[in-house]
Amino acid sequence: MMSALTHPSIRGGDATASAFDPTVNRLPPAGSKVVVAMSGGVDSSVAAAMLKEADCEVIGVTMHLWDYDRVGGNAQFEHGCCTVEDRNDARVVAGRLGIPYYVVDFREEFEAGVISNFVSEYMQGRTPNPCVACNSRVKFGVLLDRARELGADYVATGHYARVALDEIAGEAGRIGQADQADTAGEAGEAGQAGEADQAGDADRAGRLVLKRGVDGNKDQSYALWEMTQDELARTVFPVGMLTKAETREIAERLAPRVAAKKDSYEICFIQDRGHERFLKEWTEHHPVNTDEGLLDIGAPIRPGPIVDASGHILGEHRGHPLYTIGQRKGLGLAAGRPVYVVDILPDTNTIVVGDDEDLLSDRLMADRVNWHLADVPTGEVRGQAKIRYRQEATPAVITPCGPGAARVDFEHPQRAITPGQSVVFYDGETVLGGGIIRE
């Protein structure tokens, strides 16, 4: 019998580290009570199985977040989570594992924390990451509360990311900030530091860091940058140390009909790429909150001008929220050369187009910045930055500027930096922090 955790390939990714090395990926100690968010898909099913094998007391939970027939879809839709079929799949897996399983109703929280924000961002000319909001407000927000109510120590999800003990505690804090104690690994014993420093070092010794999943193609750390130290302390990502192929292999033995499921990359509450239908149907029936106040029900998504940089009208668009920076297709322009959306002006419902090079920029400003470092840096931090989910991180210097804000200077100009998207700062495998792109 080959168990999931003793499977030799699970030791991959970091050849020297054992699967139980908490500096690679911290798993809960045997006997811990863990609530696993189960979607009925491959990754979370395997996460539950791994925890069960690690002798945790596992409780499976599916979050009911959305009803597909509400806006922009129909109840028979099959490709999201939140369908009865997916819940039944999760139930089957829970049954095979012999773990209790429940459905929790988070529709209200999902609508308030994710959907409203999603629409609001689009209506203000920005392009949101709803998965980021869902993670911080629902999964590591209300779900963590639920776990606490059930007396559970941890929440687990099927994310390809890792929570690890800070390997060389203090190392991360030192980046860009010279002269931080580098003996923090033995912080408690380091008698030479002052009391305040000692407390800081002790903190750091038990600090957790968010790391990329071992499978670089599947890494989902980008969507988790808003997590706090407190949330990391109560979170585990069991599949973070697996490749997708390994996960599928385990799933194959666990529940073949789950293993065969396709990966989903689309936004879960929007069917068949139907952004336009979703935004129109939503705004017809709901007021939209913006930075400037409430837009009335029926907030218009209506045609407006497409202009070039000098203001010449080149054509008509179908409504600014239906476009995103860098978009080329669907503009309906016969410019004789490729043109791209380079700016969205919600106040005048105008789309500005330009050439490819107009999209290039070597700097962005971010707000709502969350640092994962022990101390919020005061000076430049050298690392890498990632500006959208499906794009590699690239060398950059991040400079804090004022509370919750940062400037990012890229070594090489980036294409289509898009307001509303998350920017996530890395030091190699480790997430240093992140924020929302403002400009």
Partner: protein, 402 residues
């Protein structure tokens, strides 16, 4: 399949089952009565040959047993697939048969969803439905029915007792008022059967719904009482089974089981009433003393013997049910819902509870196999769970909302 790394492991069953209003286990006497009909006595009750005759005899015996439970004549009992079908047949069947006389129906705002949704369907078909509002204990005043009756009223459907809070309606008085006006009276007696005296003559019911699996019979079988002379239109047309009211080959196994369950329920009703009341009253008294700020839902006296519905304000409802399940105690918040998600109960909302309180409510429903030991076990776990949930929700209420 010993090579599989994930052998199917059975989830340990809850040791304390307190959800008998949702369903009950099949009694061993019932199981024994049913067993021969799976294989040896498999005939179709409509067949002419001896296999058919054997099955027919068993079905007719079961009909008499069910009739005995509600003081009806055997010829007034028709077997269905369960309480939901019986309710649908009573309401849609009457509406269809009597629509020439009028298109007005009276019911209440705490009915089972089978009645609620049948009425909602008829509203979409152009019928007018009056939903009488219950008082804070879940009772209807017979005067409300009197006031709501019009010349166009063809049907009054009011449940005998409520599945969630246990409140028993004054069906006798209501039946008298309704029949005096020549209007058809239906009552859903699914929860009352076997626990209270259910007498179609005494309450003047024209139609009455019953279910097999609430009285220690099998799932998938139920019955409807239709007073002789009362016409209803069938909802399933077919081969003239069950006197044309409900076509489809008789579910002999299930019918035999329901018959046996009905006979036993009738025999043991009075001792069962005492047994259930004793446990329920003990649990209610201890909860009131040992847990602060609770509220018992339903009528204090006019209530099903084994049902106790309690709100625990400040405790999150879903977590309450889950925590109890994890502690081996099976209870529910209200009606089981197919999606698995828990919605605020329409019954508790009808009593005037706010949605949060309604969600933080638990229904304990005792059955014949429960003992006072179960009450003790619940009370060894419940107070701790409630206080933990109250602490967590108080703590997260203190946080800045996102």
């Amino acid at each position: 399949m010993d090579s599989t790394p994930f052998p199917e492991t059975a989830l340990p069953m809850a040791s304390t089952y307190l959800d008998h209003n949702a369903t009950t286990p099949v009694r061993s006497e019932v199981f024994d009565a049913m067993e021969p009909f799976f294989r040896d006595r498999f005939g179709n009750a409509s067949s002419i040959h001896r296999f058919g005759q054997d099955a027919r005899a068993a079905v007719e015996e079961a009909r008499a047993q069910v009739a005995g439970l509600v003081n009806a004549r055997p010829g007034e009992i028709y077997f269905t697939s369960g309480g939901t079908e019986s309710d649908n047949l009573a309401i849609k069947g009457t509406a269809c048969a009597r629509k020439a006389d009028g298109r007005h129906i009276i019911t209440t705002n705490i009915e089972h969803s089978a009645v609620m949704n049948s009425c909602a369907f008829l509203e979409r078909e152009g019928f007018e439905v009056t939903y009488l509002l219950v008082d804070e204990n879940g009772r209807i005043d017979p005067g409300q029915v009197e006031d709501a009756l019009t010349d166009r009223t063809i049907l009054v459907s009011i449940m005998h007792s409520n599945n969630e809070i246990g409140t028993v309606q004054p069906v006798g008085e209501i039946g008298g008022i309704v029949r005096a006006r020549g209007v058809c009276f239906h009552t859903d007696a699914v929860q009352s059967a076997g626990k209270l005296a259910v007498d179609v003559e005494a309450m003047g019911a024209d139609l009455l719904s019953l279910s097999g699996h609430k009285i220690y019979g099998p799932k998938g079988v139920g019955a409807i009482y239709i007073r002789k002379g009362v016409e209803i239109e069938p909802t399933a047309h077919g081969g003239h089974h069950e006197n044309d009211v409900r076509s489809g080959t008789e579910n002999t196994v299930g019918i035999v089981g329901m018959g046996m369950a009905a006979e036993l329920a009738a025999e043991e009703r009075e001792s069962e009433f005492r047994h259930l009341s004793e446990m329920r009253d003990a649990l209610e008294a201890r909860i009131r003393v040992e847990i602060e700020g609770v509220r018992v839902n339903g009528h204090p006296q006019r209530r099903l013997p084994g049902t106790l519905n309690v709100s625990f304000p400040g405790a999150e409802g879903e977590s309450l049910i889950m925590s109890l399940d994890l502690a081996g105690i099976a209870v529910s918040t209200g009606s089981a819902c197919t999606s698995g998600a828990i919605e605020p109960s329409h019954v508790l909302l009808a009593l005037g509870r706010d949605p949060r309180t309604a969600l933080g409510s638990v229904r304990f429903s005792f059955g014949r196999d429960n003992t006072m030991g179960d009450v003790d076990y619940v009370m060894s776990r419940l107070p701790g769970i409630v206080s933990r949930l109250r602490e967590v929700s108080a703590a997260s209420a203190g946080q800045v909302p996102v």
